[in-house]
Subunit: 219 residues, 2 copies
Amino acid sequence: MLNERNLKDLLYQEFSRIGKSLSSPKRLEILDLLSQGPKSVEALSKATTMSVANVSQHLQTLNNARMVKFRKEGNYVIYELADDVISDFITSLHKLSEKQFSQVQQIKQEFLNANLDTEEVTLEELNERMEKGEILLLDVRPKEEYENAHIPGAVSIPMEELKEKLTSLPSNRDVVAYCRGIYCLWSVEAVKLLRNEGINAYRLEKSVQDWNEFQDHIN
Amino acid sequence: MLNERNLKDLLYQEFSRIGKSLSSPKRLEILDLLSQGPKSVEALSKATTMSVANVSQHLQTLNNARMVKFRKEGNYVIYELADDVISDFITSLHKLSEKQFSQVQQIKQEFLNANLDTEEVTLEELNERMEKGEILLLDVRPKEEYENAHIPGAVSIPMEELKEKLTSLPSNRDVVAYCRGIYCLWSVEAVKLLRNEGINAYRLEKSVQDWNEFQDHIN
DNA sequence: CAACTATTCAATGAAACACTTGAATAGAGG
DNA sequence: CCTCTATTCAAGTGTTTCATTGAATAGTTG
């Protein structure tokens, strides 16, 4: 028989399934990757340096919490976020974390300082200077992610191809590179490469999601 | 030395601390209770039917994740949510859960059906009829929670005192009872009691938080 | 249909966790 | 200053979760 205490236990158990899915660092990483677009198990395995079986297991628990869904496509199983709401939720988790963990900021800063004396670009600046045609915006994520969604006007050169294509870039325009957001470090790498080549390069810390939010705000 | 993989592991580990704090049903219940206002360890222990030591331990992990803060007051240690942002975050977790778990809805419905053929009141209705003075709004939460925050115009009669005060209620006005929100069942109890007394009683499923949100929306 | 690939399943040992119990602490009040 | 109370700490136990491994499955391609 269902009494009040039972009911509460049942309900909070259900609620906690979402919490559980967010309680593992690896699962959060998977969710972040999926927020850039659908991916196969193998692709996730590579990106996270986990075994395929392990990733599959995590995806299973995420699926139980209805955080992701999947479809079969040929030999592959393609996973994606179950819902736009979830992408928003993950973003708000990040914001909350950052707000309360100075440690997160510290870790990030330590790394960036060791790697780059970086000048940041804001979305406002970007918007302005894009319209004037003053800059070249570079999306250094994998091609699929660019195709899934990108900042309007951006050119896709995946990190892997950047070295070869360095010479084809204009040296008379400033270049701004972005990838998956604040904790994605490809853009840092890209800026380093470009500067070595004598190009004025800057890092945009923001992601496509941030861009969308920014657009919603000014409209 | 901090390399890219290390950095990611560290960062996601930090992020996951919030997830961890949301991964235990008991902790979620504690957080919900705290979103109604500050509470002592003992009070939480009673409300959740857990041992004091156990609650204390959970509060410790919540504190590590900066989800709660505490102050000492006489003999007692009073815990509360660390931040308004966290209350919002918990609310959005509930909404997300409800959206994806038909099971949650089902559990709730089964219980309510077994207990009450309930007519729900919407916030719009409430607003309208409150202004006309047609109804008496009853807050059946503990006095401290009422004092911490309540819907304007509501009268506080904690559940424990309701039985004794039944006769002092007007039988010529409709009564609407509310407590902590959709999963708080005191309002269900209250409506049952009131109807037995021949009073036209209805349940408001919403909470003070919902009311505040509603007010923000219409302004 | 045989070989191959991507994914999942099942079993293992190791680590993390929840809850209990009983002792320790620290503040309040007589 | 001693007692009482609320809370925390520390140790022990049983359970759940994790990553890893190797086998099983299912779908595709020759």
